[in-house]
């Protein structure tokens, strides 16, 4: 009967009904956190006279991230400069290229500037994305990385698609073939790897082409953006794809500027403080267990008015928490540094 009386406020009563469980208390916190992030994003927007987008993902960069961001770009229709704050350890190279190219194109058509802000890391495919910017905004802890295109592969054990680094697979195969030259019996081992990994002639060819594709994508973005001189763009792209031996090599703001000749803005003072506040708030939400019962948000794409989150069950999110812990351990909260 009580429900019938409260009929005029049905949604509200449903919400209140469920708020007796721990589940809805979680949601109140989620809304508070979202509001706090939106306020900080707005503060940075006002400071930089720009429209700020945030792509904060602990998953591999996926085509759906591009489609989500392009939907958001269409909705926001920014006519001021665009700042895209990125945190990503990489993933699908084409996705990085498409995001970078689309934001670059939008900015050029609207005579505004497209800037990528990196509070911590934008590796591999996210580095490709950053090359589409007219300038990259970095602080002392920020890093980009060598371009290491990844290919989608279905993981039977986990029952889901994953992205694996193409160059690492090529390096692994090269290593095994070197062993075969020394110990011919190893060839059986090689056959087993090829069979287990489902590597066909086509996929091996694809791996090699991926390396060249990553280079081409980097060149194309650089020429239309921060390095219009073709020779320099080619040199930078080649260094990013071929020079570094370790794919996780951290390229900081100084190396990016001096060796790669990228247009880097060394962000400091008030603006960097705001970027760090945004970093802290996203770090406290994305990949953090215990905010939403049994689920973890592993990817958040946000502006002040729009949001898109992807959830994973806690059981499947352990590796995302691990990535977050490994990448952020030892990073103090920006509040620790507020001087008196």
């Amino acid at each position: 009967m009580k429900n019938a009386v409260a009929g005029e406020n049905k949604q509200s009563s449903n919400y209140k009904k469920s708020s007796s469980s721990y589940f809805s208390e979680d949601i109140d916190d989620v809304i508070k956190m979202r509001k706090k992030r939106a306020k900080t994003i707005q503060k940075l927007q006002n400071k930089r006279s720009s429209t700020v987008f945030v792509l904060w993902t602990l998953e591999e960069l996926k085509p759906k991230d591009f489609f989500t961001l392009s939907d958001m770009l269409e909705e926001e229709k920014p006519t001021s400069d665009i700042d895209l704050i990125v945190l990503s350890h990489g993933g699908n190279g084409e996705t990085g290229y498409r995001i970078g190219h689309t934001f670059q194109g939008w900015a050029q058509r609207n005579n505004v500037s497209f800037r990528v802000i990196i509070p911590q890391y934008a590796m591999s495919a996210a580095t490709i994305l950053s090359l589409g910017a007219h300038e990259i905004v970095m602080g002392l802890p920020s890093e980009i990385g060598p371009i290491d295109p990844q290919i989608p592969k279905y993981d039977n054990n986990r029952g889901e698609w994953r992205y694996i680094p193409a160059l690492a697979v090529l390096d692994g195969l090269k290593l095994v073939s070197e062993y075969i030259q020394k110990i011919p019996d190893m060839s059986r081992f090689f056959e087993e790897i090829v069979r287990n990994e489902n590597l066909t002639l086509t996929s091996l060819g694809l791996l090699e082409r991926m390396r060249e594709t990553g280079k081409q994508q980097a060149e194309a973005l650089l020429i239309k953006g921060m390095l219009p001189e073709e020779d320099q763009a080619k040199e930078t792209a080649a260094r990013l794809t071929d020079y570094y031996k370790y794919h996780g090599h951290p390229i900081d703001a100084f190396e990016a500027e001096e060796d790669l000749k990228l247009k880097i803005v060394h962000c400091q003072l008030d603006e960097w403080q705001m970027v760090k506040e945004i970093r802290d708030e996203f770090q406290n939400f994305v990949g953090k267990p215990g905010i939403i019962s049994d689920m973890v948000v592993t990817c958040a794409i946000e502006t002040t008015s729009y949001r898109s989150w992807r959830y994973k069950p806690l059981e499947r999110s352990r590796e995302y928490s691990r990535i977050m812990i490994e990448k952020t351990e030892g990073i103090p909260s920006s509040e620790d540094y507020i001087s008196v």
């Binding site: 809805s24 979202r34 008015s305």
Partner: protein, 114 residues
């Protein structure tokens, strides 16, 4: 979007994501007395049973209260994510990740009177 609408929206999102992974937030009557930590442990156990790491007979070893919940969880997991046909479909789907995630216009800062 006001706070309650937003809360409902987020709740729906979580429930939909939960269903995708075979987790139900519609806990059984028994589960109301189970803490969220215990629930998490049970869910871990259910995953391991589903993956064949632990024998299905384990379900009966945790007393009535936990066994009922565990049984439900295993059933949900099996029906939603362990179907070989579903796995094959997923593995063969070249469009597995091209659909955009839903974007929500929450306008969270509008009408902010706090």
């Amino acid at each position: 979007m006001n706070k309650e609408d937003e809360a409902i929206k987020i709740k729906e999102e979580i429930e939909s994501a939960s269903r995708e992974y075979g987790i139900s937030h519609n806990q059984s009557k028994m589960a109301k007395n189970i803490s969220s930590d215990e629930l998490h442990k049970l869910r871990n156990l259910a995953f391991r049973i589903m993956q064949g790491e632990i024998d299905i007979d384990e379900v009966g070893k945790y007393g009535k209260q936990y066994s009922e919940e565990l049984n439900e969880m295993v059933k949900e997991l099996i029906s939603s994510s362990n179907s070989s046909t579903m796995k094959e479909l997923e593995a063969a789907n070249p469009y597995f990740d091209v659909f955009p995630s839903k974007i929500i216009k929450d306008n969270i800062l509008k009408g902010d009177d706090e």
